[in-house]
Amino acid sequence: MKKIVLHILLAVWIVLWVMFLARELFVKGAFRDYRILAGRTLDGKRSYVTGDSLYGFIEFCRQNIPDRATYAFEGFEDGALDKRRATYYLYPRTETPDPEFICAYMVPVRAREGYSLYREFGDTGYIVKKDKE
């Protein structure tokens, strides 16, 4: 009797396992993600997981802000995953309250006291640089 119960429980466990696997792959879209990721370079993969638009902006900031410069973000919520990723990719540039550069993503261009427009990234973002004293 116990052996029969065990066989039934094992069969149920295997069915649930396959169901959860199938749900992850086909309902949640993991299979589609894997297909796309398989065809990309490492940088392309970083772009895909971050979001191509945001990653493009981060790359733009990396190319235009010197390595050891300080910056601040606008357009990101504090503690948001996007901001954490951007911080990671921009390092060794560091985020400070009084930065040399401000990276604004999905924020309309506006004047900031003590800063001038430095570079624009299409319609999605721009960088302002602190004016020299």
């Binding site: 116990k2 052996k3 398989a38 490492l42 911080t87």
Partner: protein, 459 residues
């Protein structure tokens, strides 16, 4: 080229870990699979601790300088092996019925485990590090170390000033840095191989541990159950540190329980102490498991000291000393730089304070049960554990099993106290963290279930 270098580096880490294992215990009483699993975890932990010591030595991080001191250990081991006549016997030969033919159900279970392991590697290596904690807390530190090629005061000050959770231990960030250095580039995709390897080590240790008292089918069954838990598979690939911590705690617990069966085997006890010390070097929660193991050990000694040899008692006394020695460098660094945890203040843990926080117990336990019984949660293993305990509660408190039960009870209690002490709103904190904290003692729980159901399921 990077892939080849990565594979060689993992091989080197495992080889160094094997040397540590051989130095402490000659690998006695362990089968080849257990030695391989323990060697990988030891290699990772010991090399990363070595990298931390470079801060005290004021030396830059160079692969050649990191590997050179190991020549002493390797030569010592070679001399010993030559004198004592080679490698110890494979304790896997002691497995009950090891020559029995494979049954169809064995092949089915083995294929399921193999599939999950391969899938974990695939999921880990198909994309770079991108999950929240993995990138915000850990990967940023390994990037800082790799770019600086040194562990300096600036690193700890920058960690404290610019990034969250500077107090989190650095075992995995250091080993990520090591792999970046050996690969020659910041390949945050390939470096994720660390995590499915820890998952594989856990499965290997579980299989061998259950195999020691049960048939191959029984051991494969519980290994299959663990491997197919969706949270286990998902955390084998997302670069969070739950599974590395689970591996160190699980290994230390298994070796501790083995020592309870043979208290004259102090070498296994020493390896257990090193593993749980490395748990404390992997995540702050590892300190909880250091305390759990010490308490369980103290309980065993309290009940059995009359029958124990002087060697066993000295081994037990040395256990907490080994843990402290391993954790001391990181504790000193944190003290020097004033690095503390912003979420939990452990400075004022005392009974009066805990009683004052008693109002938090009900919401904590309510959130706990939601993780187990909530319809959207895939945590059937915990329901199975509760049913198993209800069916075999007497068995759970007999022989060595009572110490496994005690270990799990202490782990859960430790988390309750942790949540009560937290500065963060308790329901929010438990909701965000309890599901993955369960992973820390999941392998021990599955092992415990296998132990207590053994007489009930004869396969």
């Amino acid at each position: 080229m990077e892939t080849a270098r990565l594979i060689i580096s993992i091989g080197v880490l495992t080889f160094l870990g094997w040397n540590v294992l051989y130095l402490i215990s000659r690998g006695r009483g362990l089968c080849r699979t257990e030695r391989a699993a323990l060697s990988y975890a030891l290699g990772v932990g010991c090399v990363s601790l070595e990298m931390l010591t470079f801060f005290f030595l004021g030396q830059p991080l160079r692969v050649s300088m990191l590997l050179a001191p190991w020549a002493v250990v390797i030569i010592l081991n070679m001399i010993r092996a030559f004198r004592e006549g080679g490698a110890p016997r494979d304790a896997g030969a002691l497995f009950h019925g090891s020559r029995a033919p494979y049954r169809p159900v064995d092949i089915l279970l083995a294929c399921g485990i193999a599939f999950e392991v391969c899938y974990a590697f695939f999921r880990a290596l198909i994309k770079p590090i991108e999950s929240y904690d993995a990138i915000a807390i850990y990967a940023i530190k390994s990037k800082m170390l790799f770019l600086a090629r040194a562990v300096t005061a600036d690193f700890f000050l920058a960690m404290k000033a610019f990034f969250p959770h500077p107090d989190y231990p650095l075992n995995i960030p250091f080993i990520e840095t090591f792999l970046y250095m050996t690969m020659g580039s910041l390949n945050d995709q390939l470096v994720k191989v660390i995590f499915p390897l820890f998952a594989l080590a856990i499965l290997a240790l579980l299989y061998c541990a259950v195999r020691r008292f049960a048939s191959r089918t029984y051991a494969l069954l519980f290994t299959f159950v663990l491997a197919t838990i969706p949270m286990f598979g998902s955390y084998a690939a997302n670069a969070y540190h739950e599974l590395p911590l689970a591996c160190y705690y699980f290994a230390s617990a298994l070796l501790l329980f083995r020592w309870f069966e043979r208290p004259d085997r102090t070498r296994l006890l020493a390896v257990s102490a090193v593993m749980v010390g490395l748990a404390g070097w992997t995540k702050n929660e590892g300190m909880l498991y250091c305390a759990v193991n010490v308490i369980v050990l103290a309980a065993f000694v309290a009940f059995n000291y009359k029958g124990m040899s002087a060697k066993g008692l000295i081994g037990a006394a040395a256990y907490p000393v080994i843990i402290v020695v391993l954790l001391l460098p990181w504790i000193l660094v944190k003290r020097s730089f004033g690095i503390t945890n912003s979420d939990v203040d452990l400075a004022n843990i005392n009974p009066v304070y805990i009683v004052g926080q008693a109002h938090k117990i009900v919401p904590i336990l309510n959130e706990f049960q939601k993780q187990i019984f909530g319809p959207k949660k895939w945590n059937l293993i915990w329901i199975a554990a509760l049913i198993g305990f209800a069916m075999q509660y007497r068995s759970a408190f007999t022989g060595i099993r009572r110490y496994v039960t005690l270990s799990l009870a202490l782990a859960v209690s430790g988390y309750v106290v942790f949540y009560m002490k937290s500065n963060i709103e308790v329901v929010h904190f438990v909701t965000k963290t309890w599901a993955r904290f369960l992973l820390h003692f999941l392998p021990v729980a599955v092992y415990w279930l296998a132990l207590i159901l053994k007489d009930d399921i004869r396969i």
